[in-house]
């Protein structure tokens, strides 16, 4: 079990993702400054939307849509960062072999 510490850590990350509907909906630091200093209007929309604003499209319950988005993102980032690291370590092995 000790060797699988990262499974426990990943499980904990998923728990955080499940808590995501509790997040504050107030503007964040940059958005707030942009509103107060009058340049928020410069912000443009993205030319495409996938899971825009961390709300999974097609789910009516917004809390659930946020949780689904959070779980997808958390698993995706685990896979992406793991994959990049795995490729880099593998590359080194192939070069020195």
């Amino acid at each position: 079990m000790r060797s699988k510490w990262w499974l426990i850590a990943l499980f904990f990350c998923l728990l955080i993702a499940i808590l995501s509907p509790l997040a504050s909906t107030s503007p964040d630091g940059l958005e707030r400054v942009a509103e107060e200093k009058g340049f928020i209007g410069l912000a443009g929309n993205s030319p495409f939307q996938v899971i825009a604003d961390y709300v999974f499209p097609g789910i009516e319950n917004e809390a659930l849509a946020t949780i689904v988005a959070g779980i997808i993102g958390t698993l995706l980032l685990f896979g992406l960062a793991y994959g990049v690291a795995w490729l880099l370590v593998g590359n080194k092995k192939r070069k020195t072999a």
Binding site: G29, K37, Q49, G73, A85, L88
Partner: protein, 219 residues
């Protein structure tokens, strides 16, 4: 502090993209040379944790929220180059899939929250552990200071880019950004301390693993 498209002018977009591209290329090269097989799962966990924690905006003073950045934590655990790579993964996914941070602003966001966050957080942490020793308590204090400095410096870089782009005058946007992120940084520091504390208590060996160091060759 994900910059959306529209805030930055073309010159700033081009400059920040070029700097970030060069920085990420160096990060790939150096991390590739030094990363150990045992550290691969930690890279994945850090990516997952930073993404999840960034979703949890917490309220700070006056109807404003902040969220964890995580660059300093990643850099403390894995070194600044690997930290930059993890942040780049998170920022690319947030930009392409979650429409958080603009496409053209991706380079600036990687520069601020990736490169500047990782290196300033790591630098401050190393400086403080050199001065105060490597005991658990000084590591935690250094972790707090490093992650506070990282988010404040990232916000200052963001303010400079906004001012250079003409979005807002420097004397207006710089104190506003640094001020609000000095507050957010207190929570950033607290989260970093909790995570470092858990790791020191349960898996101190993760902290002892050779980090991907700035520039140098592995022994």
């Amino acid at each position: 502090m994900h910059i959306p498209d529209g805030f930055l002018n073309i010159a700033t977009v081009a400059t920040t993209s070029a700097v970030s591209a060069a920085g990420v290329a160096a990060a790939i090269k150096i991390t590739g040379k030094q990363l150990k097989e045992k550290q691969v799962p930690l890279m994945g966990v850090m990516g997952a944790f930073i993404f999840a924690a960034q979703m949890l905006n917490f309220p700070i003073a006056g109807g404003t929220s902040g969220h964890f950045m995580g660059a300093a934590l990643a850099a403390i655990l894995l070194g600044p180059w690997a930290g930059t790579l993890i942040m780049t993964c998170v920022l690319i996914a947030q930009c392409l899939i979650f429409q958080d941070g603009g496409l053209l602003a991706l380079g600036a966001n990687v520069l601020n929250m990736g490169l500047i966050g990782s290196f300033s957080g790591y630098g401050m942490y190393r400086l403080m552990t050199l001065l105060a020793g490597r005991g658990a308590r000084s590591r935690l204090i250094a972790g707090f200071a490093g992650s506070w400095a990282a988010i404040v410096l990232a916000s200052i870089a963001c303010a400079l880019e906004l001012a250079i782009s003409g979005a807002s005058p420097l004397q207006v946007v710089l104190p506003a950004m640094a001020g609000v992120h000095a507050l957010i940084g207190l929570v950033e520091g607290a989260i970093t301390v909790v995570v470092l504390g858990v790791i020191i208590a349960t898996r101190a060996d993760l902290l002892e693993m050779a980090r991907v160091k700035a520039g140098g060759n592995p022994k």
